[in-house]
Symmetry: none
Subunit: 131 residues, 2 copies
DNA sequence: GTTGACATTTGCCATTTGGCGAATTATAAT
DNA sequence: ATTATAATTCGCCAAATGGCAAATGTCAAC
């Protein structure tokens, strides 16, 4: 086990597959990785190796570097992904998040912030109730 | 077994270690990978995972991309130098959205994409119901 | 030749990955 | 409601990784 692993890589991979409108079997055929393994990866039951990531990056519409960085195999600074990473008020924006959001209309992007604000308030009040 | 594997990665890694004038124990201490495993890798008895490569790249004086490409985990074309200007798949990201999101932890940023995906699915199925 | 320090290799095993084939679940058509 | 098909999940197992601790090899000093 490696501490650098992403906790939601499987979900990211599933989202990529759904975005490309592929079934597990179709992605399996395109990538050469078995559908049962892909299912386990998406559910978080297995962590994909570098070999697997290379095979599924293109069918899922990812840059290889991007996917390796998401998986924690490449550190952001050396994969080149971070070179495009703008800094905003001292914070860093994940390149994957930026890329996906950029494909949406501006209204949707801003709505996302509204939803995030609501969820944060909800989380805060939930924490207060638990105290 | 993966066909993309390099047959001489172990030797390349050994050469890097010798060039840096390190023993297996020293490289182990610097990288956090056990010396016995490093020895097996150098002799070709084990093939290092992406996690191991990330840990040993810097002590050996390699760029991470370079070592991953040597190992066959990254294809050469996609591990090249990133373009200097930010690109988001042809779309533009609202600066306000970028600034706000950048203030959140990376996990939260990625969760936001998950929520967006769910909402889009809901919207799509709602549109289908309306038709 | 012996000894000790240092470096590397080996035996072993727990853990994890990845694929086959079957089972289960979901979905669409009737 | 039923049935067929599509999609996903599961049981199982072989293969591979990675680390501990011990064993072996190398070399310098005596």
């Amino acid at each position: 086990m490696d501490q650098n692993r992403s906790t939601n890589l499987g979900e990211i991979i599933r989202q990529g597959r759904v975005t490309q409108r592929l079934t597990l079997s179709q992605l399996s055929a395109m990538s050469g990785v078995s559908s049962s393994h892909l299912g386990r990866i998406e559910r978080g039951e297995r962590y994909p190796s570098g070999s697997i990531l290379r095979k599924i990056a293109e069918p899922l519409g990812f840059e290889e570097n991007e996917l390796f960085t998401l998986a924690g195999y490449l550190t952001p600074t050396s994969s080149g992904v971070a070179e495009s990473r703008p800094r905003y008020g001292g914070g860093e924006l994940d390149p994957y998040v930026a890329r996906i959001l950029a494909q949406e209309p501006i209204d949707v992007q801003r709505a996302v912030i509204g939803i995030l604000t609501i969820l944060k308030s909800l989380a805060l009040s939930t924490v207060k109730e638990s105290a």
